[in-house]
């Protein structure tokens, strides 16, 4: 293990990779700050660029972008009460009131310190937890992989956000359906190509991700009416940041909150499907209950109320890398995209990643930590300048986002059919989003679908067309049982976070 860490460290601190972390964090912050564009879109936009890079370099860039985008999301939550990401919704509860009181700078600083501490503690936990999970790796057969994919798919139950499990599962099925388009991987039979040659290779994951997230988001910006009032509010917030210094008493208040929220965030992040959003709500609710008398300040600009969700969402981001790197199960929409990117590098994420590609494994973990440091020392002083991005008018920014999404896919395939297919998918995605259907489960189903089918068919071939392996192999059976549990658990967790949320609002209402 020590050897692996050293190898990862050497890779992570090489000049090109360090440059990638820095660039990734900056670009991520930049994109994450744009209202509506979250880490998923940010990472999707990065994929074409990473194709030409070494796998570890590419992943490091994406991890940097991921962190940056979450941080950027907090910035827009605090400054204009427009969370770019679901994970930073809770940040706006106390961050925005602070900004309204003229303490925007302080709120941003608290967010940065909390994110840093949450990320640091979670990375340390990741360092310890990941190898022990990977230790069971060698005993995995194709039957177990199939069970793992099922586990990954059931994890979507929690992506639903508002707790609508049926919709999330339906979208997963849609993703699985799209994954069957193209040539069948076991027998080489064409499926659903409708005689179109461009579909024989199937639909690329990049195309689907870009169309469903980046392109549809840009289209929604075009479609949505925006009032001059909202615009004026944005301009006012970014011109008035205030001091960024924290007093000793404030830091003292933050430390225990950071400790508790990091642990909570990390473990919620590890649960596939739970992710940063639920972690941040749970941390917010937990702190409010613990705070006692001070809990009444929550929602009016409380330091604890800002520290807790910020720490937890960053810790959960690190946590969600545990199932991704060790089991090949993405814990969130964002890690689902990274899973797709790993596969396109020819790296099979999962139990064997730790053994087959230790450099990739460790360098990603280490660069995640470096990303945290970069965010703190580079981004904090730059916040006033970065906030200026909010003043770029959307009629200049939107065409550029459209261009980068289209060209990102075109430059990989050089097939103009892809551009047209993207428009079709983007329009469909806009429709689904307007109808409030979650898109992340669709992408997850799409990515895991092909692998699941392949492993299942291999398992059946090995077992002479008998389904008995499901009961006969204890490992397969237990993973499938966990999958069944996962289907239920996040629903309970999200119910809990909704309950906390209601309590917060009730308290708010009582006060006013």
């Amino acid at each position: 293990m020590l050897e692996g860490i050293l190898m990862g460290l050497t890779t992570a601190v090489s000049p090109i990779n360090l440059a990638m972390v820095v660039a990734g964090c900056m670009v991520g912050t930049f994109i994450g700050m744009l209202p509506g564009l979250g880490p998923i879109s940010a990472i999707a936009l990065m994929i074409p660029i990473t194709y030409g890079l070494e796998p570890s370099t590419g992943l490091i860039l994406m991890a940097g972008v991921y962190y940056g985008a979450i941080f950027g999301g907090s910035t827009s939550s605090i400054l204009i009460n427009a969370p770019g990401v679901a994970g930073t919704v809770a940040t706006a509860f106390d961050g925005y009131p602070m900004a309204k009181k003229g303490q925007a700078g302080k709120a941003l600083a608290i967010a940065a310190y909390s994110s840093f501490s949450g990320g640091t503690i979670a990375t340390l936990l990741l360092l310890v937890a990941a190898p022990s999970l990977a230790a069971v790796s060698l005993s995995f057969h194709s039957t177990d992989y199939f069970a793992l994919m099922v586990l990954g798919l059931t994890a979507v139950a929690a992506f639903a956000g508002k707790g609508n499990v049926v919709k999330a599962i339906l979208m997963t099925v849609l993703g699985l359906m799209i994954s069957t388009i193209g040539t069948d991987q076991t027998q080489g039979i064409q499926r659903f190509t409708m005689g179109i040659t461009d579909l024989i290779d199937g639909i690329s994951f990049l195309l689907l991700a870009m169309a469903a997230f980046a392109l549809s988001e840009a289209l929604l910006v075009v479609l949505r009416p925006k009032s001059d009032k909202a615009r004026a509010k944005e301009l006012e917030a970014q011109s008035n940041l205030g001091s960024m210094k924290l007093s000793k008493a404030e830091i003292k208040e933050m430390i225990p909150v950071i400790g508790r929220s990091s642990l909570l965030g990390f473990f919620v992040g590890v649960l596939p499907g739970a992710g940063a959003t639920i972690a941040s709500f749970l941390a917010y609710g937990m702190e409010q209950r613990i705070a006692g008398e001070k809990g009444k300040e929550f929602g009016t600009g409380s330091i604890r109320g800002l520290t807790a969700p910020e720490t937890a969402n960053n810790a959960a981001c690190s946590g969600s890398f545990v199932p991704l790197l060790t089991l090949g199960i993405p814990g969130s929409g964002t890690t689902a995209i990274m899973l797709g990117a790993l596969i396109s590098y020819g790296i099979q994420p999962g139990p064997r990643l730790y053994l087959d590609n230790p450099t990739v494994f460790w360098s990603v973990i280490i660069s995640m930590y470096i990303g945290n440091v970069v965010l703190l020392i580079l981004n904090l002083p730059l916040i006033p300048y970065i906030a200026k991005i909010l003043s770029i008018p959307s009629n200049i920014l939107t065409p550029l986002i459209l261009f980068f999404s289209l060209i990102g896919v075109y430059f990989v395939s050089f097939n103009t059919f892809d551009i047209h297919l993207m428009v079709i998918f983007a329009v469909a995605a806009v429709g689904l989003r307007l109808l409030d259907f979650p898109l992340a489960p669709m992408l997850l189903g799409f990515i895991l679908g092909g692998m699941m089918e392949e492993n299942l068919r291999r398992a059946l071939l090995i077992n002479d067309d008998s389904w008995s392996f499901i009961i006969e192999r204890p490992l397969t059976l237990s993973i499938l049982l966990i999958a069944a549990a996962t289907l239920v658990l996040p629903a309970i967790l999200s119910k809990a976070s909704v309950w906390f949320l209601n309590r917060v609002e009730k308290n708010k209402a009582n006060e006013s």
């Binding site: 049926v166 039979i189 261009f403 428009v423 409030d436």
Partner: protein
């Protein structure tokens, strides 16, 4: 009562039925038909799941909200989609620089930008820089000029 959940459920129901109907076009060789799992098996299962889940959503959804699309700029959105389709047709014959430049300028026009200086200076530098980045730095060749000019040059 129609709601956003139900509209979505109906659309996905139609999609699942259409998907299911197309399964029988997947060709199978005689020996493949007898296997426990063929190229048709997963699509069949998915189609059934899709139909069942959309029916469940259709009949159990308690959500009565309709999507709030009042004041949406549908024309603008449609024009932008049209521009993207046109860009797809033009990017090869018209060359990267011309087609991309026009695409960005027309997008900005659709979105309400009328100052020609901003139209030019917010788009062309990006196009040229991106083309330079791809060709010179990343080594991905993209034809910059329209096809007929390249032909004339021989």
């Amino acid at each position: 009562m129609l709601s956003s959940d139900r509209i979505g459920a109906l659309v996905l129901l139609a999609f699942s039925i259409g998907y299911g109907a197309m399964i029988y076009q997947i060709p199978l060789l005689p020996f493949q038909r007898t296997a426990a799992f063929t190229a048709q098996t997963l699509p069949q299962a998915l189609s059934v799941m899709g139909i069942v889940l959309s029916l469940v959503l259709l009949f159990t959804s308690r959500n009565r909200d309709m999507p709030d699309v009042a004041g949406y700029h549908w024309l603008k959105g449609g024009l932008i989609c049209g521009l993207m389709v046109a860009y797809g047709f033009l990017v090869r014959p018209a060359g990267f620089i011309l087609s991309t430049g026009l695409f960005l300028i027309f997008c900005e026009l659709v979105l309400g930008e009328r100052r020609w200086k901003i139209l030019i200076f917010s788009t062309m530098p990006v196009v040229l820089f991106f083309w330079y980045l791809m060709n010179e730095v990343l080594g991905v060749y993209v034809a910059p000029l329209p096809e007929f000019l390249v032909d004339m040059r021989g």
